[in-house]
């Protein structure tokens, strides 16, 4: 019996029981579609996060005050109060030859006001380098001037939305705004460029780091962004930073240095694991579809007992009967799986239209895995019914009508 004839026979039997076939196709298709949609979403989320991080620059190191118990993560709930990370510490980091530039950062929130209008805003204290390290662009005016980071100066740069809210259509450059109880002159406005990880640059006010420390009455920086000269220089820079700060802090290791790469790969791993988990859960529905196929095939075998007897009388061996039934289940699973892929793709496309930021894309391995699992369960679960059919005694099978 040729392969084409075997397939033809299987497809004809499937067509012969349209309702049964339709339901099984549906079960298989739903399972596969679930796998495709869920992995697409997971993969989309992963790519989104990775792209966001990459936009921050990949030779970036972040220095935080306080020692982290686990390597890589920032200190979250730590008992001891670490020594302050000061502007002097930041400036000292420039001694390392692996470091291209540094941007000390302090963050707080304060009331910003201009004439009658005011609002609460995030205030970032930093230096000229912040612009380059965070890849920001200016909308109007200039950014903070090149200056000694230890010197305070009453100038500020506004996020686009803050400017809009305080000034409306009026000219902002050169005006004096109030931050808390101090006055600052607006020297620039940031271009609006949407969200990046962490903060919305449209809703910040940037001032020189020394001014911010004075404003919040503290000596400790929130963190120091350090850009290494090259990607290869990152480990070297990390070691230098630790050494320099240790020598300045009486031999104590009381800072944490995390690299962009480490954060990136952590996120990458977590999100990939999440995608796999979700895909695995969806795959359970495929197994359910497989069990459904088994049950329906068992019913089919008992419904078609006399046909099986007939096939044997016409010269089909037990093996041939087995192949015919397994082929039937295999064809069913494969058609269902392809249907599911199409449905899943359409579903992914719709989600992509609704949430354009999530670059929904189905990883090739998910397609291969969904097809393989669908076909695998179909074949596996049809073995039992097919063997039962193959073993039927033809005389008894024929006596059933």
């Amino acid at each position: 019996m040729s392969t084409i004839d075997i397939l033809g026979f299987a497809l004809k039997s499937l067509r012969g029981y349209a309702l049964r076939t339709g339901l099984m196709l549906l079960a298989m298709a739903i399972g596969v579609a679930a796998v495709v949609v869920l992995t697409s979403l997971g993969e989309g989320a992963r790519r989104f996060v990775v792209a966001e991080f990459a936009s921050l620059g990949t030779h970036l190191l972040i220095v935080l005050p306080g020692r982290s118990e686990t390597t890589g993560g920032p200190p979250l709930l730590l008992g001891e109060t670490p020594r302050d990370l000061t502007i002097d510490d930041a400036v000292a980091l420039n001694r390392s030859r692996a470091v291209r530039r540094i941007a000390p950062i302090t963050v707080g929130s304060a009331r910003v006001s201009y004439r009658r209008r005011d609002r609460e805003s995030i205030i970032i204290g930093s230096t000229r380098e912040f612009l380059d390290v965070r890849h920001l662009t200016m909308g109007q005016g200039r950014f903070l001037p090149e200056a000694d980071p230890r010197r305070a100066s009453p100038v500020c740069v506004l996020g686009a939305k803050i400017r809009q809210e305080l000034f409306g259509g009026d000219k902002a450059l050169g005006q004096w705004v109030r931050l808390g109880d101090r006055r600052f002159r607006v020297i620039g406005v940031l271009a609006s460029e949407g969200r990046t990880i962490g903060i919305d640059v449209e809703e910040i006010v940037v001032v020189p780091v020394a001014s911010a420390l004075a404003l919040f009455d503290t000596a400790s920086l929130f963190r120091i962004l350090v850009e290494a000269r090259t990607r290869e220089a990152i480990p070297r820079a990390q070691k230098d930073i630790v050494d320099i700060v240790r020598s300045r802090h009486d031999g104590e290791d009381d800072i944490t240095v995390i690299t962009q790469d480490a954060v990136l790969s952590t996120f990458d791993n977590v999100l990939r694991a999440l995608t796999l988990t979700v895909a695995g859960i969806a795959a359970i529905s495929l197994a359910v579809a497989g069990i459904l196929i088994m049950n329906v095939m068992l019913v089919a075998v008992s419904q078609r007992t006399s046909e099986i007897g007939l096939l044997k009388a016409l010269g089909a061996s037990g093996r041939r009967i087995l192949v015919l039934f397994v082929t039937e289940a295999g064809a069913l699973s494969l058609i269902g799986a392809v249907l599911g892929l199409v449905i899943g793709k359409i579903g992914g496309w719709i989600v992509g239209r609704l949430y354009p930021a999530l670059s929904v894309s189905t990883p090739w391995w998910a397609i291969v895995a969904a097809l393989a699992v669908a076909l695998g369960t179909g074949l596996l679960f049809s073995m039992l019914p097919a063997r039962r059919a193959a073993r039927l005694d033809p005389v008894q099978a024929l006596s059933r009508r």
Binding site: M1, K312, A313, R319
Partner: protein, 228 residues
């Protein structure tokens, strides 16, 4: 061509043993026309199934075309069945979702006969049984007599050496029963061995050789010179 030697077939139902065939020995030559008669439960179907390789004797020897087939594997028995034997059943046993042509072609599909040859043989045989205009009808669109003719066409399409018919007219009115028998006898004229199980004495009289069974034994074996 068909030789049975001391064949027994014992069914075990629970702890009871049913001796369906009790020491049957039989010798059938190619081209014979045999009517198998006997009361219900006397073992006619069992005998036919063993001759057709659908069932195996509990003991005894079966030689088909000079070959001892008792010990053959499932696979080889299936092949012999396909190539040498054609079955015709009381209840037709057509595949309901296949049309007449497809039902007739089924043994050739199983045997891997090329498509072109299949088509040629099917149309030739449809013509022989007078069903050319019903080629694409499904079984439920055919009368009983037409169904049985499709079944006979299917049984002969592989050009078997023997046709085994178990009460082929049992479910038909007398007119279509006669048609069916005419077709079977025409095949017998072409040197195909024909064994027909029947309860109808008029039908049995048409055969040259008549076997009568009682309780699993052949109690009479008569041969008349000519077919009526």
């Amino acid at each position: 061509m068909i030789q049975l030697q001391q064949v027994h077939r014992i069914f075990e139902v629970g702890d009871q043993k049913v001796h369906a065939l009790d020491d049957v020995s039989l010798d059938i030559k190619r081209g014979e026309y045999i009517a198998l008669m006997g009361p219900s439960g006397s073992g006619k179907s069992t005998l036919l199934n063993i001759v057709g390789l659908l069932d195996r004797p509990t003991s005894g020897k079966y030689v088909l075309d000079g070959q001892n087939v008792t010990a053959l594997s499932d696979q080889s028995q299936a092949e012999m069945r396909r190539d040498k034997i054609g079955f015709v059943f009381q209840f037709f046993h057509l595949v309901p979702r296949l049309n007449a042509s497809e039902n007739i072609a089924l043994p050739m599909v199983l045997a891997g006969v090329p498509v072109a040859e299949r088509k040629a043989r099917v149309s030739r045989i449809l013509d022989a049984v007078g069903l050319t205009d019903r080629a694409h009808h499904r079984p439920d669109q055919l009368s009983g007599g037409q169904r049985q003719r499709v079944a006979i066409a299917r049984a002969t399409v592989m050009e078997p050496a023997a046709i085994l018919a178990d009460e082929p007219t049992g479910n038909l009115d007398s007119a279509s029963g006669k048609d069916v028998l005419d077709i079977l006898e025409a095949l017998n004229d072409n040197n195909i061995t024909l064994i027909v199980v029947t309860h109808d004495l008029d039908i049995a009289k048409r055969a040259r050789r008549r076997l009568h069974m009682v309780d699993g034994c052949i109690d009479s074996d008569t041969t008349t010179g000519e077919r009526k």
